[in-house]
Amino acid sequence: MKSFAKSAITVVLDRLAEQTRTYVPMRDGVTSNFSPWSERRASDLALNSLNTTFSPKGIVFPQTERLYDFAVDGQRADISGTHAETGENILFGARACDRKAFAALDQVFLRRGYVDTNYKARRDGLTVIGRDCLQPGPFCFCDSMGVDPMGADGADVLLHETTEEFGWEPLTEKGQALTLRLNDLLTEKELIRPESAGCRLEVNVAGLPEKLRGMFDSPVWDELSTFCMNCGVCTYICPVCHCFDIQVMNNGSSGCRFRCWDSCMYPEYNLMAGGHNPREGKRDRFRNRFLHKLEFFQERYGSFGCSGCGRCLVTCPHSLNMVLVINRLGEVKVDAS
C-alpha cells in the first residue's frame, strides 16, 4: 500500500495546501476545529486529538454565508452577485462519524427535490481524506448509530494509521487525483492495519423509530426537558444539525441576504408573524429535536440524524445528551394499543 511516514506529515500537508486549501484538525486555544493548514500554525496541528470541538460541517455549510447582494433605489430593486463558492477544498483526517454526518447533510441539501446550490458548490469542490478511528473515546458511540469507525464510507482517500505510518488508500477519482499530486512523497510498503478498539459506549436504537411513533404524548418529554435551557449549543456543535435562518444585512440602499445557522431550541424559531407558535414550550422544542434525529430523519432519509460523534455528551451545560435521551426513551414502556 502507498504510505508516508507520520514524521513527514507537514511535507504532505504543505504539498496539498500548495494548490488547495486543506482543512486539518487544529488547536485553537482551549478548543479545536478543522482549520486551513499553514506552516506557521504547524504547532497547532492536532492529528492526535480524537474529535475536534467543532465539527467540520462549517466547511460545506458555513455558520454565516452570503447568498446574494441587492440594491434598492426608490421603488426599484436589484438582485445581483449571487454567491456560491465553487472553489476546491480538502478535508484532511475526517473520522467515520463526521463523514457519516456529511452523508446526512447530503441527504438534506442534495436530495428530495431541490438541490441547494450553495451547499452543492462547496460539497462538489471538497475532497475528503478520511482516517481510521483506532481508539474511539469514552463518549463515542458511532457504531451504535450504524457507523463503522474503520469504514471507508464518504472518503475519497482513507488513511490507515499504524505506529509510524499513514497508509494512503485512494477510493475515488478525486482521491486518485490527490495521489498523483503526492506521488513522489508516497512509498509502497506492506502495512498491517491495526484493528479498532471499537466503541465502549453503546446505545440500543433497535426499533426506536417505530417505538417513538407512539411516544409523542409521553410524559417522558417533560421529564427529560426539565433542565434543558433551550440554548443552541447542541445544535451548533452537532455535525448533522442543518437548520438555518435567512436574514438581511442592510446598509440602507444596498445590502445582502445571508443565511446563518439557526437552532430549533430558540423560541422564535417557529414563531409566526401574528404570534402563533406551534412549539411554544421548551418541552415541545426539545421533543422535536430528538424526534427529528431519532424518528423523523429516519423516516424521511432512511438514517438517523446522529452519527454518534459524542460532542453533545461533553458540551451540554446540563449534561442532557443523545445517549441519556436514547437510554431513557428505551426504558419507557409504551402501551401497545
Binding site: S49, T53, G232, S319
Partner: protein, 303 residues
Amino acid sequence: MGDLTPEVQRIAGNLLSQGQVDLVLGWAKAPSNGQSVPACIRQAEQAGRLIFDQYCIHNLATGLLDHRDSSERIGIFVKGCDSRGIVRLAEDGQFPRERLYIVGICCPGMKDQAACDRAASGLFGETAGDSELAGKCRQCAHPNPVIYDELLGDQQPPFLNDVRFSDVQRIEAMGIGERGEFFSQIFSKCIRCYACRNICVACNCRQCIFDETRPQWVGRSTSAADNMMYHAFRAMHVAGRCVECGECERVCPAGLPLMLLNRKLIKDIDQLFGPYEAGLSLEEGARPPLSSYRVEDPDPFVR
C-alpha cells in the same frame, strides 16, 4: 468534607413528606453515565435519588425561572454562588423569597465534569485533571451560602488563589486599541449559541433584546460587529447584577473567557459606586447600583 448526600436526601424527603414544599431542586446521578446532573423531584420517595458531590457545579437558581409563574413552593439546594443567584432573582423581582426553602451547602469547590470529559474524550478543553478545581471556582470569594433556611457542611475559606482582579488589571494595562483588538479576537470565536445568556441568573428578562425581531437590535450573523454587540450588551446588562457564579464561562463551548468583561465591570462598579458586591444580602428595597441614582454618584466618565 464529609459526605453530605445522606443529609441532602433526609432534608429533601422531609420537606416533601411534610408538605413544606411541592418540589425540590437538587442534583442526582444520571443513570446512563453517572454524571452529576440537576434534578427535580416531587415525591419524598424520590429523595434517595439526590446526591451531593464535587461535581454539583450547576447553578440551580436559574432553574427557578421555569417556576416563576406558578405558586408552588420550592426546596432548593444552593452553594455559595447559587445562593447569590437567589438574591439576584429576589432583588430583580423575579422570584419571591417566601416561596423558597433554601438549603445552603458550604461549598468545598467544584470540579467541572464536562471539562474533565472533554479532556478524556480527546476533544480539547481545559485539561482539568480529576483533582483540579473547576475554572469558575478558582476566583470564588464566597463559597458559603449568603441566604438559607438551613445550612450544611463546614464553613469554607475563599478559593481565590490569585489576587482578586489580577486578570482585570492585565486588561486595564492595555491601551484602548489593544483592548479592542483583544476582545474582538475573543468574541470572533463566539458561535452565538446563547448558552451564556440562558444559564445566567441575571439574564432573567422574559423577552430578551437578542430575541426581539421588531426591531431586530442585533444581527444574527456571526460577524465581528454582531458578536461584539451581543457580548457588550450582555455585559452591560448584567453589570452590577452579575453574582460571579461563572456559569457563562463554564458552559461556553468556544471556551471564551467571558467572566473577564464581567469582572472588569464588577471592579469598576465597586470602585465608582461601592463598596459593592452583588447578591450578598437580601434587603427590602435594595437595588443594584446601576438601577438606582444618588446625587453624589461619581460621573467622571461623562464628558
